[in-house]
Amino acid sequence: MNLDIRAFEFGQAAVSRDPVLEIDHVSKRFHVAGRVVQALADISLAVEDGAFVAIVGASGCGKSTLLRLILGLDTDYEGEIRLDGQRVRRPGLDRGMVFQDHRLLPWLTVEGNVAVALRRSRLSSAEKKRLVAEHLELVGLSGFARAWPAQLSGGMSQRVAIARALVNRPRFLLLDEPLGALDALTRLRLQDELARIVRHERSTAILVTHDVDEAVFLADRVVVLRPNPGRIARVVDVTLGARRDRSDPAFVLLRDEVLDLLGVRDRISGPQPSIRGTQQNE
């Protein structure tokens, strides 16, 4: 957790655990209507096993692009992305993905949608069945196994998508603004669930979001991206415990720090005095 980028760049082993995901000087350009757009510029990041890393930034800073590169959907970039030291060349079942839109297949039932992720796995069908049931249980949808996606609410659909991403027991869980399309209440509830689920599965999680509260609430580390071109502004370690309170002064401080880095600080209520006030009340 205290491994920072500089340490990685100089090749020093700053922590006992080796990084399982290494993003090594990655730059990515797009050709849009005859012009070259630099989406990512010299991104380097090392993620160790079991970490929960959030990537925040304004829209257009290339954070979703970075996920696509980690997934292996796009291999046309400079630099290198390695999983366990191996360069990423294509998608694999070691990486589970949750998209912003739930992207369920409307012609399959809830359990069918979870089971598609096991299509390429070599497990026996009994074992697959058990895994599907177990993961539906994990996201609290056991009673809806036979429902069609059209019958589900947005939050329920996203839970199914999370179950689908996890059913392979992937080492990496990649989340591309997974709660971005949900209403505020559902989002809060699912943030709690996501924290519980990821802890339960012990996957290494990479969360892309523009919701700073969400990032600080869920992650051990928040990577702040700046746009044009997308580059890392700073990596903020979240030193809060496993149980986080969104109104805890330490939480608010961290959130403000990240918002500061994103350049949207002014919209947040006055910093120090209000925090002191809260502390005095306790």
């Binding site: 990486r95 992207r103 059209a150």
Partner: protein, 270 residues
Amino acid sequence: MSGFSLSAPVLNRIGPKLSPRLRPVVLGAILPVGLLIGWQAIVSAKLAPSYMVPSPADVVLRLQMEFYGGTFWLDVGSSLSRVLRGFAIGSAFGLAAGLALGLSRIAEGLFGPLFMAYRQVALFAWVPLLSMWFGGGETGKLAFVSLSAFAPVVVNTWRASRAIPEKLRELAAVLTFGRLDYLWLIALPGALPGIVTGLRTALIYAWIATVGAELFLDIAPGLGGRLNEGRDKFEVDLMLVALLLLAGLGMVFSRAAAFAESWLLRWRTR
């Protein structure tokens, strides 16, 4: 999904005392019953000679006669067998061709223009050529019915499978699907609404083509053949009976197709 529907307020004005389920039935029956009464009136008033316009009772009598003493079971069976076999052959080839055109850019580039050119030729323009190649017998008829079912399935399957969203292709990549997985789990069900539309159209075309083949190719058992016979023997009642049966069977097909559609696409609504 029965083709047409009326908004509730209009229906309410028509028969406020009828149950909502019965109302469309009553409404739909008004014109046929009216036609029947008008027909009977023409006959009763002797406005037309009876060999040109037989009475409704005569037609019913002829229908009974044909089924009990005649060959109508064989005729109806032959026509049904032709339409179903032709439909099955034509739509199987159509489905394969449509999926190839929609899912492979190479296949689309190769066969697309040829298929568009083929579409410009009216269906019945194939009859002379097909009868030369396959003869006017059962093979020629089947070839024509199959060909007529082919095109609508191709067009709709092509369009629908081409329109599979990029996002689902991405999902397939993330789930490391192979080509068969993609076809079976995403392309085929994703294109299913279009495919079903194509199949329903194909069924109508095949039914039309069946009667066309029976009218224009060699005489054989079948409702189209009986129409020819009615004209040759100047038996208007026989022709009317055949027409009524064609309409009735067509309605049964379309109902069955609507039922199949709502079952196949049951995931869409509710």
